[in-house]
């Protein structure tokens, strides 16, 4: 399929799978070297950017996010902005004020979240790469549910300039694609120091060192609570890795069980301050009832245009930062994060990577998701959250299919700044894995 074929068919495909919120009007790729899409919380000067929220409808940014600018500078053509959970608040891309992306293997199921539209686009279109953003697992989860590769690099590896913040100490921009080699190629393209984001300026240079994955540790608790099909596929994958000459051992990582509550305290605390700027003035939706006094204006506007999950996380994050509760929740969560990092560092002194399934189950049906409580949905992230809390790079590879043909993912976590090990893991794994592509019917 040529770039021109993609540009002539993708609107029709989008009408069935809803991966894009905004699309290019161009039918001609011109002299583009490749086509790409980006999660809709990355600003784009030529397309509306809503971050999945009704409160930002109509927002036309004045500038490109640095990651998008670097893709364009390398010859990339942005074809669409991808649907997602509102501000990244979710595991299934259903917490959206806009459209909900449909899984390419079964449109009645979720693409995962929150970079669901990005994973869907990367799975459906040939030779397509999509930029995603991970705060607690939002790249690896949808990569797993859509049967593709996805990488979230070390915190600070890719500039966050132009990213609509969810949690500033957690957000990472990464790559999703059906091709393992794209992990290396595009992380190299978008990474590097950027004075506009000081958190990107402490990074060591990303080099092709040729470092290989030789050993991996499986946390003992990392294989609990799995569906039977995920457990079976993961066990078979471990045997395959051993046959590839990789040393695989089980280890204890006692801090991991505290990662989930620590993550949700920090993520919602940061989110509740970040979302304070959306008050119905300056950008996105405006022109509320100006006869109201300012407090009432802001409250009525936010209540009308924030979705249910956004409100829940604002309330939770506001509470955990309040006087009287801050030490118990926020300050303790910061210390737990350091314990989790120490646990990872201890394992990385002996192993190249930590290995688990990416998600405990395969993509659920939308009806199953609506039956989950908020806490049930949060708990689904227990395998992806620890690496995100620790800021360590992590990668999901497809490793099998369940009895319904839905993809299963396996997650590798490496030490800070060691993306090289993950690139090798993806490329070596791809050589021996037979990917079953989704049948896309329009």
């Amino acid at each position: 399929m040529t770039m021109r074929d993609v540009l002539s068919s993708f609107r029709e495909i989008n009408s069935k799978y809803h991966m894009f919120h905004a699309v290019t009007g161009d039918a001609d790729p011109g002299d583009a070297a490749f086509l790409f899409s980006a999660k809709d919380n990355l600003t784009s000067a030529d397309m509306e950017t809503c971050s999945g929220s009704r409160i930002l409808e109509g927002y036309r940014p004045a500038f490109d996010a640095e990651s998008i600018a670097r893709m364009r500078a390398a010859g990339g053509k942005l074809i669409g902005k991808c649907n997602m959970d509102e501000f990244g608040f979710g595991t299934f891309s259903v917490n959206s004020g806009l459209e909900i992306p449909r899984n390419p293997y079964d449109p009645e199921r979720s693409c995962g979240g929150s970079s669901g539209g990005s994973a869907c686009a990367a799975a459906v279109f040939e030779d397509h790469v999509s930029l995603g953003v991970s705060t607690g697992g939002s790249i690896c989860c949808p990569a797993s549910f859509c049967g593709i590769y996805g990488i979230a690099p070390t915190y600070g590896r890719v500039s966050r300039y132009g990213l609509i913040d969810y949690g500033n100490s957690l957000d990472k921009i990464g790559v999703l694609s059906a091709r393992a080699g794209d992990m290396r190629k595009y992380i190299h393209m978008i990474s590097g120091r950027d004075p506009k984001d000081p958190t990107s300026c402490a990074q060591p240079e990303l080099k092709d060192t040729g470092r290989k994955l030789k050993s991996a540790a499986v946390p003992k608790d990392g294989t609990e609570g799995l569906s039977a099909d995920v457990k079976d596929a993961f066990d078979r994958s471990l045997e395959k890795l051993k046959s590839m000459g990789i040393d695989v051992e089980t280890v204890e990582m006692p801090s991991l069980k505290y990662a989930m509550p620590a993550y949700y305290v920090l993520a919602t605390s940061e989110a509740s301050t970040n979302l304070a700027r959306y008050v119905g003035m300056r950008y996105g939706r405006q022109r509320g009832d100006l006869s109201l006094r300012f407090d009432d204006y802001f409250s009525s506007f936010r209540s009308e245009y924030f979705g249910e999950e956004a409100k829940r996380r604002i309330l939770l994050g506001t509470y955990t930062r309040m006087a009287g509760f801050r030490d118990r929740y926020y300050a303790k969560a910061l210390r737990v994060r350091q314990s989790v990092i120490a646990d990872y560092k201890s394992v990385f002194s002996r192993f190249d990577a930590v290995l688990t399934p990416t998600m405990p189950f395969t993509a659920p049906r939308f009806g199953e998701i609506s039956g989950m409580s908020a806490l049930d949905a949060y708990k689904a992230d227990y395998l992806t959250v620890p690496a995100n809390l620790a800021g360590t790079p992590h990668l999901s590879v497809p490793c099998g299919y369940d009895r319904n043909g839905m993809p299963i993912g396996m997650q590798f976590v490496a030490d800070h700044w060691n993306e090289e090990v993950l690139f090798d893991a993806a490329e070596s794994w791809e050589k021996g894995f037979e990917m079953v592509k989704p049948e896309v019917k329009v």
Partner: protein, 90 residues
């Protein structure tokens, strides 16, 4: 978290909740905060930090510059004579 606390938190966060939302969020947040009690038993190493990796300070000379055309920034804003229009303060 009881209804009164949810109401107080919502007021601080500039969110107006209906009666049914108050009920729902009170129940949801109670369940979530009960789960957060797990943090109380987490061993405390005393080590803390805001970021997961070390962040370097980046300094530059304070030179005035304009990265964006003001007309582009104002194009979609609700304005009055090039001022952003907002709700009344008094």
């Amino acid at each position: 978290m009881d209804r009164e606390t949810v109401e107080r938190v919502a007021r601080a966060a500039h969110i107006k909740l209906s009666e049914s939302e108050l009920e729902k969020y009170s129940s949801d947040l109670n369940e979530i905060l009960t789960y957060f009690e797990l943090l109380d038993e987490a061993p405390d190493t005393g080590k803390t930090g805001v970021n997961p990796v070390e962040i370097a300070d980046v300094l530059r000379d304070d030179v005035p510059r304009s990265d964006f055309d003001p007309d582009v920034l104002l194009r979609d804003m609700d304005t009055y004579e090039r001022y952003v229009r907002g709700p009344r303060l008094l």
